[in-house]
C-alpha cells in the first residue's frame, strides 16, 4: 500500500550553475537565471510503501512522517534562498529535479526498516510543473 504526505514550503532560487559564465547561464536558463533569484510555493509529496500494522492499522503514523519531513526538509528549505543557504545547492543547480533527489537523500536513511520503504518523492515547482523521483534504480 502507498501512503502519501503532502507538505508545502516557500523558497527562492536562481537557476544558475556557478561553473558557467553569466552569459552561459542566461542562455541556458533564461529568466530563471536572474542572480537575485525568484521564488516558488513548492509542494512536496512523500510516498511510502508498506502494509498496515495489524494492531494500529497504520503503515506509519502520519504524524511521525509529518514530523520527519518537517525536520529534515521543511525546516531546512522553508523561507530560504536555496543557492546561498541550503547545501548542496551552493554547487548543485536547485532545479526541481535536484530538489527531488536531495529530498530523497534526506529522508531515505530515516525510512529504512519497520516494514516501510520510501517509494517516491514528488516536487511541484508550480501547479503546472512537477518532478517525480523513485530512487537511483528506478
Amino acid at each position: 500500500m502507498f501512503i502519501t504526505k503532502r507538505v508545502e514550503f516557500s523558497a527562492s532560487h536562481a537557476c544558475r550553475n556557478p561553473r558557467l559564465s553569466d552569459r552561459e547561464n542566461e542562455e541556458l536558463f533564461g529568466a530563471a537565471a536572474n542572480p537575485h533569484g525568484h521564488g516558488h510555493n513548492y509542494v512536496l509529496e512523500v510516498t511510502l510503501e508498506g502494509e498496515p500494522d495489524p494492531v494500529t492499522g497504520m503503515v506509519l503514523d502520519l504524524k511521525k512522517l509529518k514530523e520527519l519531513v518537517q525536520d529534515e526538509v521543511v525546516e531546512k528549505y522553508d523561507h530560504r534562498f536555496l543557492n546561498f543557504e541550503v547545501p548542496p545547492f551552493d554547487h548543485v543547480v536547485p532545479t526541481p529535479e535536484n530538489i527531488a533527489i536531495d529530498v530523497w537523500g534526506r529522508l531515505k536513511p530515516h525510512l529504512a526498516g519497520n516494514g516501510v520503504r520510501l517509494h517516491g518523492v514528488r516536487v511541484y515547482e508550480t501547479s503546472d510543473l512537477y518532478v517525480d523521483y523513485f530512487g537511483e534504480s528506478a
Binding site: 537557476c15 550553475n17 561553473r19 558557467l20 541556458l28 536558463f29 533564461g30 548543485v92 543547480v93 536547485p94 532545479t95 526541481p96 529535479e97 535536484n98 527531488a100 533527489i101 501547479s127 503546472d128 510543473l129 512537477y130 518532478v131 517525480d132 523521483y133 523513485f134 528506478a138
Partner: protein, 145 residues
C-alpha cells in the same frame, strides 16, 4: 532517473458519433455527447518525460524544447478547434478522449526524435483530464511504443 511532468491546456469541441451506428444507436450510446452541434471541454494534458539529470544544467529535460514540441504538435493544432471538423484524424474516428489520447501520444512520439535525438529524455506518458471527473492515461506502462 527523473520523471518531469508539464501541464498544458487547450479548449476544443467535439461530438461523439460513430459512423457505423444508426442515429438512434448513437443517441442511445453517447447521450448528450451525441448532440449534432457538438460541445466543448477545457482539456488539460500532462506530458511526462523521463531521463537522467544533466550535471551541468540540473535538468532531465530542456523544458523550452518540450514546451515548443507540445505547442507545435498538440496545443496549437487543437486549441479552439472542433476536433471533428478541424482535425484530419477525427474525420473517420470518433473523438473520444481515449482516441484523443492515442492521437496526442502518436503526434508526440512521431516528433520526439527531431527535438530530442539522443538516448534521453524519453516520452513516458500522456494524461488527459477531459473534465475534473474524466481522466485518461496512455504511455509506456500501458504498452504504447
Amino acid at each position: 532517473m527523473i520523471r518531469i511532468t508539464r501541464k498544458f491546456r487547450f479548449s476544443a469541441s467535439h461530438r461523439l458519433h460513430a459512423a457505423e451506428l444508426s442515429a438512434d444507436a448513437n443517441r442511445e450510446l453517447y447521450g448528450k455527447c451525441n448532440n449534432p452541434y457538438g460541445h466543448g471541454h477545457n482539456y488539460e494534458i500532462e506530458v511526462t518525460a523521463r531521463g537522467p539529470v544533466d550535471d551541468m544544467t540540473g535538468r532531465a529535460v530542456d523544458l523550452r524544447l518540450l514546451e515548443r514540441l507540445v505547442r507545435e504538435h498538440v496545443v496549437g493544432p487543437l486549441d479552439q478547434k472542433s476536433l471533428n471538423a478541424d482535425v484530419a484524424e477525427f474525420q473517420a474516428k470518433v473523438p473520444t478522449t481515449e482516441n484523443l489520447a492515442i492521437e496526442i501520444y502518436r503526434r508526440l512520439t512521431q516528433a520526439w526524435r527531431s527535438v530530442f535525438p539522443g538516448e534521453w529524455p524519453v516520452l513516458e506518458r500522456v494524461r488527459i483530464v477531459e473534465t475534473a471527473r474524466n481522466i485518461f492515461e496512455i504511455g509506456e506502462a500501458h504498452g504504447q511504443k
